[in-house]
Amino acid sequence: MPDDSLYSVRNLTVEYQTRVGIVKAVDDVSLDIRRGEILGLVGESGCGKSTLGKALMRLHTGPARIANGELWFDGRDLMKLSDREMPDVRGAEIGMIFQDPMTSLNPVQRILDHLTETIQAHEPETSGAAARTRSEELVERLGIRRERLNEYPHQMSGGMRQRVMISLALALRAKLVIADEPTTSLDVIVEAKFLDLLKELQKEFGLTILLITHNIGVVAEVADRVAVMYAAKMAEVGDVNDVFADPKHPYTQGLLKSVPNIRLEEGELYKMEGAPPNLLHPPIGCRFHPRCPFVMDICRTREPAFEPVVGGHLVSCLLYQTANVKQEGLHA
């Protein structure tokens, strides 16, 4: 584990028990989130990125279950904590911002109560007045007037609610904020403002942010590093400039080519062949091989390892591992 990593996920597998069988929504994923960075996690809908985000806080209920893996957060394995100890970590050390700010606040509770309750839940010795003062300072920093603390969620706009959600994460100085598609339901102007705010806060508070999104543009704008997920597996992780300039994995290449651009002629936009696989019966070998333009015979039988190609640029693709494979073949 590198020293500068705040959260190290090791071999995480999350399963959903469904009527037709077990679906591994996150399958043997390892990921490092470094202190003070914004890590963008991108992928198609249903590739397991939100499941991964929730698993980082052990927020799973019902049919979902963490089957395997270690969650090293700030020097301890969260998997070893009991269910009673987890709520102390949630909110206080890891915060979460949800996709839809319209439904992520309790409709029958004032904004102020959301904040003071969060503070007092983790710091019971804080008085109501002190919690109130802290909440007021916090929301003013985020650009919400303190009078509006007495309002109910339905009286606020989507952007304001999303800022309230951040303030909930910041109220206890969480080290890591997991933002699960925080801008999906916002319009582009509010989205841009929100992303600016996120960057400012990251610098000001030394936050570490895991930004889960399907919008590559958002990642390009704010993220330091990017992780690409495909079919419950990690496809590529690297510095945002490296990955965007020189994508290694064929899936990432396709993904970047398929971003709409005003300068493209009609019909020029790249469309990736095929559809994401059914995770109930994932393809054998590399999960991307049915859609891969560079598919080799070995891809159909052998699962690629997740290995560095250059520096910190990790890729899970046999194109870059064939040398090793051939060597192994020689030895055998």
Binding site: P87, G91, M96, P107, T118, A121, M165
Partner: protein
């Protein structure tokens, strides 16, 4: 279509709320509204609503200044007044008795007035009245209804007060009297109290048991949920009144037992609604968000799920009270409810049923009262549902 017809507007709720409030006020202070005690035998039996009670009344010449029996009193040195009665009826005895009472009251007062009428008996009503017309008697005392029947033949006579001083022509019983001479209106008003006590307390007991059970079952889920739901569904499957009859039959008739029986009946109503709502609210993002800021289960249940579930409980409570009143009246009607001496609508209904051909008012008014209370509470519940639930509102 039905919805369009009673699509609740504000006035719909207002009317029902005023009615409910009225019933509650009557139930709290029935004594203020009831003209008589509900248990006293205050009048003749089977008196129709508004009918005049048939009392021995004083019949006087039209020009006489007198009106009551006491007006006939004269100083002791003057001749005693002559009062005509009909032979063989109990009137003369009652007259004697009443005159004695009044005489005892006035004989010690200054003025020396005495009331010792000479009672003359006539063979028929007509002869007695003719004696007054002729001046042979100062007044006659006959049953007021009998006089009213033939008063046209004696235009020079008029009816004064009854000998006991009541205005015999006043309809003392607005809704009539029952088979033992109790005032139907008074029993109705006092019955409101019993009906509302049963309705409210059984619904409250059901609410305080059903809501927490529903919350926990919905929130915890799993085998607790499954077994509780099985019990509740089997309770729910029983026809309501039958189950209540069974429970009161085992426990015996008393107010508390009725409340327990009806409460058991309605626990599943609350349980099912709260459990269903909890199941849907607990999947809301704000509950997950609450977990993500470190809220513990009890806190989530208390501050996130309960406040979002309670509006629907308030609405079914109103409808539930109506239902409980109906069931309570049903139990009393079947004789499984309260002791028969208590002023209760169901009991009055059962009593009235025996005399439905001779005294329609005995069964009609308690029945109307039950209908109105149930209507008011259900109307309020339905109205509130439609106002609070925008999904049901007309497009």
């Amino acid at each position: 279509m039905a919805r369009r017809w009673y699509g609740a507007d504000w006035w719909f709720v207002t009317i029902s709320a005023v009615m409910v409030l009225g019933f509650i006020i009557v139930a709290m202070f029935p004594g203020l509204f009831a003209p008589h005690s509900p248990d006293d035998l205050v009048g003749p039996r089977f008196l129709a609503p508004g009918a005049h009670p048939d009392l021995p009344a004083l019949i006087l010449p039209s020009d006489s200044p007198d009106n009551e029996l006491i007006d006939l009193a004269v100083p002791s040195d003057q001749p005693r007044p002559i009062v005509a009665v009909v032979q063989g009826v109990p009137t003369s005895g009652a007259l004697n008795e009443q005159a004695q009472v009044i005489d005892n009251q006035i004989k010690n007062e200054p003025g020396g007035l005495r009331l010792r009428p000479r009672i003359e008996r006539y063979a028929t009503l007509e002869e007695a009245l003719q004696a007054v017309v002729n001046g042979k008697a100062t007044a006659a005392v006959v049953q007021s209804l009998e006089f009213e029947a033939i008063s046209a033949q004696f235009p020079t006579l008029r009816e004064g007060a009854s000998i006991t001083g009541e205005r015999s022509t006043a309809g003392g019983f607005f809704l009539g009297t029952n088979d033992i001479g109790q005032d139907v209106l008074s029993r109705l008003l006092w019955g409101t109290r019993i009906a509302l006590i049963i309705g409210f307390s059984s619904s409250l007991v059901a609410l305080f048991l059903g809501v927490p059970l529903g919350l926990f079952a919905g929130f915890v889920g799993g085998s607790l949920d499954r077994s509780l739901s099985l019990v509740m569904d089997s309770l729910y499957a029983f026809p309501g009144l039958i189950l209540a009859i069974a429970i009161t039959a085992v426990l015996g008739p008393s107010m508390l037992n009725i409340i327990v029986a009806i409460a058991v009946l309605y626990i599943p109503t609350y349980y099912r609604i709260v459990r269903g709502q909890t199941l849907s609210v607990k999947e809301e993002v704000y509950v997950e968000a609450a977990k993500s800021i470190g809220a513990r289960n009890l806190e989530i249940l208390q501050k996130y799920i309960f406040p979002n579930v309670i509006p629907s409980v308030a609405i079914i409570f109103s409808v539930n009270v109506a239902d409980a009143i109906l069931t309570g009246a049903g139990l009393s009607f079947l004789g499984l409810g309260l002791p028969p001496t208590i002023a209760d609508w169901g009991i009055d209904l059962a009593r009235g049923q025996r005399f439905i051909q001779t005294a329609w008012w005995m069964i009609t008014f308690p029945g109307l009262a039950i209908m109105l209370v149930v209507l008011a509470f259900s109307m309020m519940g339905e109205g509130l549902t439609e106002i609070f639930n925008p999904k049901l509102r007309e497009r």
